[in-house]
Symmetry: C2
Subunit: 409 residues, 2 copies
């Protein structure tokens, strides 16, 4: 008998029919003798409907009351799912965040979990109930309703699994696992049976939006066994997210992430002296613009060229900031480009295998794709290319690193 936490997102509970499907899946696990805790999101569209009501009153609604409002979305789902489970003859009991209780700090709309009391859930499980918990919500020390921020139901699932020392936390979504890359671009893309937490973090932050980054961090911290599965398929093992030391020999590269969300800005001919980078990035940060990649190169005549990327939607604003500080820092020129794409190879095996970078660069060169920026971390190499080459780059790299073939055992 295992204790399993299952989390279902808004699409998976988006209608009464789908809620029934979830109940049937839960029943299967229960019939196998497992204890099951189910975490659910609001029915798809519901959170947006509630936020729209609030915005009719004020474009920046009071955060405390916004949490009172939007937390009703998950409360509706837990009640309906508990009813559906009972309709199948199972014992079931719904829990709001405060009923668990799932205690958070008091930062409304983006609260952090501080403590989970497992007593009430444990008692319900021990008396044979399926425990149905509202995701995304909690309660602060003063008894105010809080929410963990959008998508926070994944975090709830992982946190409950940690508190209950569950054998596995299953995240059901509309894809059946994590792929080597997006199958819409590379039809040969292969579902990964396992992936490490670190790779998952890099892939998630790079745009493979299967799981919330925060929930993956949480799972890593508390050693929760996390599995991504499709709620629309009956079979399939999904992708198990593992700790590196658990798995056997790692493949060098696990996957290729990519995105077209960024724009590139360059400050040319900056005097190469300490403090210049801080001045440039300080001005950008003051304008509340997040920076992703940063590259600096020494140039001619004791000057340097400084390049960084921002979200494409903030390109114009960032250009205005740079033009303002241009004189102050004595730069020759400011330029920008929003027709770029970022392509990243991710894999923990990269650490122990030399030559990944050179193979990547050779592959791109063979396709005549010029690299505008390069940035590396321990388990990732990212390059920026002209955006029209993105698909070509992803396909060429997928083939070059044999990602379509399962690695030898």
């Amino acid at each position: 008998m295992a204790l399993i936490v299952q989390k279902y997102g808004g699409t998976s509970v988006g209608s009464i029919e789908r809620i029934r499907n979830v109940a049937e899946r839960v029943a299967k696990f229960k019939m196998l003798g497992h204890q099951v805790v189910v975490v659910v999101s609001a029915m798809s569209g519901e959170t947006n409907r509630l936020i729209a009501l609030a915005k009719e009153i004020h474009k920046e609604p009071d955060p405390r009351e916004l949490d009172v409002l939007v937390s009703t979305g998950e409360q509706v789902t837990i009640a309906l799912l508990a009813m559906a489970l009972k309709d199948l003859g199972l014992k079931a009991r719904s829990f709001t965040g405060w009923q668990v209780p799932l205690r958070t700090d008091d930062v409304h709309t983006k609260a952090r979990i501080e403590h989970i009391d497992d007593q009430a859930m444990r008692a319900a499980l021990d008396s044979g109930h399926v425990v149905v918990v509202a995701g995304f919500q909690g309660v602060d020390a003063a008894g105010n309703i809080t929410t963990l921020g959008r998508g926070g139901s994944d975090t709830t699932g992982v946190a409950l699994a940690a508190a209950l020392k569950a054998d596995e936390c299953q995240i059901y979504t509309d894809v059946d696992g994590v792929y080597t890359t997006d199958p819409r671009i590379v039809p040969e893309a292969r579902r990964l049976p396992t992936i490490t937490f670190e790779e998952m973090l890099e892939l998630a932050s790079l745009g493979s939006k299967v799981l919330q980054i925060r929930s993956v961090e949480f799972a890593g911290k508390y050693k929760v066994k996390l599995r991504v599965l499709s709620s629309f398929e009956d079979e399939g093992e999904g992708t198990l997210i593992t700790f590196e030391d658990e798995s056997m020999e790692q493949p060098i590269i696990s996957g290729i992430a990519f995105n077209r969300d960024e724009a590139k800005l360059t400050v040319l001919g900056v005097p190469d002296k300490p403090g210049i980078a801080a001045t440039i990035l300080g001005a950008v940060a003051d304008a509340n613009i997040d920076v992703d990649m940063i590259v600096q190169n020494v140039g001619a005549n004791n000057t340097t060229d400084f390049t960084f990327t921002v979200h494409r939607g903030e390109f114009k604003k960032a250009m205005e900031v740079l033009n303002r500080v241009k004189t102050e820092i004595g730069a020759r020129e400011v330029s920008g480009d929003d027709k770029i794409a970022k392509v990243s190879l991710v894999g923990v095996g990269m650490r122990t295998h030399a030559g990944v970078a050179s193979k990547m660069f050779r592959t791109l060169a063979a396709e005549n794709i010029n690299m505008q920026m390069i940035s590396t971390s321990e388990i990732k190499i990212s390059v920026v290319v002209e955006d029209k080459y993105m698909e070509l780059a992803v396909r060429a790299l997928h083939q070059a690193f044999d990602l379509d073939k399962a690695p030898a055992a």
Copy 2:
């Protein structure tokens, strides 16, 4: 400075625009220096929408989970109203039932209030907040969400007023007070500036559905000053519901109630011996059919005729029950009629004034309206007539008792 509890029903908070109107009305009272507690229902249609979702799963949804589900309706309203109050520059704080806490027994979907802790509300009021409370919901001793049954928000308002020793409990609705009778039938019907609790109880139970009976009983028990007002008019004093001893000389008749919701059943030629009525009504009660009026008359040959009324929707079922027990009780015949109407005069002045009944019967006789049943209580006389005469009977009585004229001071 007074402490006022205001209750707004679903129609009064049925849209963002109406919620803004409620906020503006509350602001007016706050500006006058009063402390205000606002109790709200779910936005009109919302409770029905939620119940329909539950019924898609099961026609008799689990009561505990049904409470979890429908209580979200009021939770949405308190958040939106608190936002709207803050948008007007007021301090405001929403409270769900469990946040008050409003403690109830554990009878889901029709829980009874056991205790209200006023500390948290009092603290919020004292720090200048408008307190916004979700009507209709509470929490049981084990921390389960409960609801007071449909329309229970009136009861919440009165109970909070009692717990806080409020100066007045104002029930805002879509009518501007209690009338001598329905103005749609008698255009001369007059709004009553005051009415006693007992009269209100009789009028409410007889079909003038301005207030929930239970909330009126509650107000009487805890001596809460209750006022019915329109939320769609800015002026108007509404109707104040008083204790008899508070008011001056009472008018003989305060109002005329009527309904067409009932059907009449008669058992003819029953042997006139003890236990017969109990056998008949016992069988009816066993079938879960509520009985309203009961009349028994001695007939010929030591037999009696026994007549009672039930809700019209249960007429067929009640007839089946009677036909089943007919032999057992040795009755000659069973008959029924669902084309009836009940008309009732209500007034505490009736107690001390003889001749009300005879004037009522003379008035009806003058219009050739035959009375099929008569039933009286201390402050009420009800007659059953053929339903096509109902409007005529109400109009004739309204005029005969001078209800269109304000009583002399």
